[in-house]
């Protein structure tokens, strides 16, 4: 048997090898199917009663499933139950039956009426169509007296393959026996992907041809690459087993971030809301390195009030219970326009009034935000770190520090995202308590490349030597002055680049919380002198691919095997 390869979109970094089980969709029931019980066709009155009673029965089943589940699975099932108990859906179906439509056609017609409106509306509503269809399938099965789920009972650990899996179908599986989920449809942000993420299962969606794989065939599922290998060879199986073992190891590791010789590096999370902070309560992170406060401001016609802001900041400070929280003041403009803060018709918004520069047009926004943060600090007794985005000159840094200190905020810093700020690192650092490098914007401005232009992504590679040079010189200056230099941005979440940054003297790395375990693992397997050597290798490269290759060739082989 030869190995064949299917390609989809992976969710997460996990990988696994196991036999396939196909979960077939429920058999289609024809619009004019005859509803019978014990071989006898029901009368029109009986049919109406059966349909009428099917709605609360399906809702009750889903509510029961929701009660048995936890977290996201429970939320999704509860939302699906709400659709099943919706009076309009039931009313619309019965109206059609009373008008003489066959029962299955009536259910399909009512569901499709809403599905069409939702699909046209797009966005969040369009995602609910899967839930609507899941409710429809259960209603039809209930009315016909058929089994309501096609989920097979699982005897051994398997890779579940389906065209698409509604959340209710996913929840109906014996999740202890599921190794991975592979679907032909579905999106990387859809319900099934979210549930798989919560359960820590490898998941690959949008895999054409997945349902053609025969049951029992062994496949290797790699969410890091999105690849499905049918009949994998021994070498691949061994590699995936090694990765799985390492993943178990680093998922269980909650020690503080440090190199193997004990050099401390704070591993921090990027968040956008107070709720995100709540979710970090039990996470092994040393705090929050970037609280993007603009999330509070987006999609609004007016700025949130001081009370509203203060509440959100206090929630985050309280949730982290004294761990470090770095709050970034409003970063509006460019790709994040705000109705009340952004100037309309800027020809070059990325180079216009954005980030800290908003203070020129709207000093009140900054004042309110700093007042709210100071209020939250006082209320919780936790001192937040605060920093301003898009600082270009030491004078701007001095101005921001004065505004923050006037309100009693103790630890004040700025972001280094503009090359001018990195080049002036010494003057800048002497104004502030700390800096944080926003490597995504620093790359955009250093390479003169729009972050939103996908076709130029090679120029925005975080391994670009020019960007690394600016990071290195800023980190070196911070070390000389004894001030913390952090990195928040894509760079920090790449375990190999994290080693390089640590070698340069970066003191904290902030990333999405899911990226922390791999970075912690890489750090713990290298000592500081090795990281410094890796930094030299990267800085001596003349291109991004060369920098990456040089570093990968020099890291511990076990780490390369574990992280892929």
């Amino acid at each position: 048997m030869t190995a064949t390869q299917l390609q989809g979109v992976g969710v997460g970094r996990l990988a696994v090898v196991g036999p396939v089980i196909q979960v077939a969709p429920l058999p289609e029931v024809a619009d004019d199917a005859v509803v019978e019980r014990d071989g006898v066709a029901l009368s029109a009155d009986q049919i109406r009663t059966v349909v009428d009673e099917a709605f609360p029965a399906v809702a009750a089943d889903l509510q029961q499933q929701a009660a048995d589940a936890t977290g996201t699975v429970a939320d999704v099932l509860a939302a699906t139950a709400a659709i099943a108990s919706d009076p309009a859906l039931r009313g619309e179906t019965l109206k059609r039956i009373d008008a003489g439509t066959a029962p299955i056609a009536a259910i399909n017609g009512a569901v499709e009426m809403f599905a069409r409106i939702f699909t046209q509306a797009g966005g969040l509503l369009a995602e609910r169509v899967t839930d609507l269809h899941s409710v429809r399938d259960r209603l039809v099965a209930k009315v016909m007296g058929l089994p309501e789920s096609s989920a097979p009972s699982l005897d051994e650990p398997v890779v579940v393959v389906a065209v698409d899996l509604a959340p209710a179908d996913t929840a109906a599986l014996d999740l202890d026996k599921v190794l991975a989920i592979v679907t032909e449809l579905g999106g990387p942000t859809g319900h099934t992907a979210i549930i798989a993420g919560q359960l820590g299962l490898p998941c690959v969606v949008q895999v054409p041809g997945a349902t053609k794989i025969a049951e029992g065939t062994v496949v290797a599922v790699d969410a890091a690459t999105g690849g499905i290998t049918v009949n994998p060879d021994d070498e691949l199986v061994k590699e995936i087993d090694a990765r799985a073992a390492a993943q178990v190891e680093f998922a269980a590791d909650t020690s503080p971030g440090a190199t193997s010789d004990g050099h401390k590096v704070d591993l921090l999370a990027n968040i956008g809301t107070g709720d995100d902070a709540e979710r970090l309560k039990d996470s092994a992170v040393e705090g929050v390195g970037l609280f993007r406060t603009e999330v509070l401001f987006l999609d609004r016609t007016s700025a949130p009030t001081i009370e509203e802001q203060s509440r959100a900041y206090a929630q985050a400070l309280r949730a982290l219970g004294g761990r470090k929280v770095v709050v970034r003041t409003l970063d509006a403009g460019a790709d994040k326009p705000l109705a009340f803060a952004t100037l309309p018709d800027e020809e070059n918004p990325a180079l216009g009034v954005r980030g800290y520069r908003t203070v020129r047009a709207h000093p009140d926004l900054m004042a309110t935000q700093l007042d709210a943060l100071a209020g939250a600090a006082q209320e919780t007794g936790v001192d937040p770190w605060v920093m301003a985005p898009m600082i270009a000159t030491p004078a701007e840094a001095r101005e921001f520090v004065a505004l923050a200190r006037a309100r009693g905020l103790k630890t004040v810093g700025v972001m280094v995202e503009v090359p001018a700020a990195a080049l002036q690192a010494r003057a800048l650092l002497s104004e502030v308590d700390f800096v944080s490098l926003g490597t995504n914007d620093l790359a955009q401005y250093t390479m003169a490349t729009d972050r939103l232009r996908g076709e130029l992504s090679d120029l925005l590679d975080p391994w670009q030597p020019a960007v690394l040079q600016l990071v290195a010189s800023t980190a070196r200056t911070g070390k000389e002055l004894g001030k913390p230099v952090g990195v928040c941005g894509e760079s920090a979440s790449d375990p190999y680049l994290a080693l390089v940054l640590t070698g340069m003297g970066v003191t904290s790395l902030s990333m999405s919380v899911s990226a922390v375990p791999a970075v912690r693992y890489a750090l713990r397997r290298h000592d500081l002198p090795t990281c410094q050597r890796l930094a030299e290798l990267a800085l001596a490269a003349t291109s991004a691919p060369e920098a990456r290759e040089r570093v990968r060739d020099a890291v511990e082989p076990a780490v390369l095997t574990a992280l892929g």
Binding site: A79, A82, I83, D86, P87, A88, L89, F114, I117, F118, A121, L124, L125, R128, T273, G274, D275, E278, D299, R300, T301, E308, R311, A312, Q315
Partner: protein
């Protein structure tokens, strides 16, 4: 008939979580409460599906109406809920 016009305060508009809370509150009322955009056909506020199809965004005006005993009270209660930002974590918890 009692009618009242209110502004949607929830950040995400009448979607997702706010729609769930509003439809449940409407279902719990003793009278049928209708909700609609000004000048358009109103819908049953206890239906989460119909509520979401209104597409009422943050800041939109919606018209509530009800008839019969307790209509005023029911409309006022629902109006208060719609005028609250139900996406605010401090309100929700």
């Amino acid at each position: 008939m009692v009618t009242r016009t209110v502004k949607v305060a929830s950040t995400s508009g009448l979607h997702a979580r706010p729609a769930t809370i509003v439809s449940q509150a409407a279902a719990a009322a003793d009278v049928t409460i209708n909700i609609g955009l000004p000048g358009q056909e109103p819908v049953d506020a206890s239906s989460i599906l119909l509520l979401m199809t209104l597409g009422a965004e943050h800041g939109a005006q919606v018209v509530l109406s009800a008839e019969g005993d307790g209509a005023q009270e029911a409309v006022d209660k629902l109006a208060e809920l719609i005028e609250t930002n139900l996406d605010d974590p401090a309100v929700a918890s």
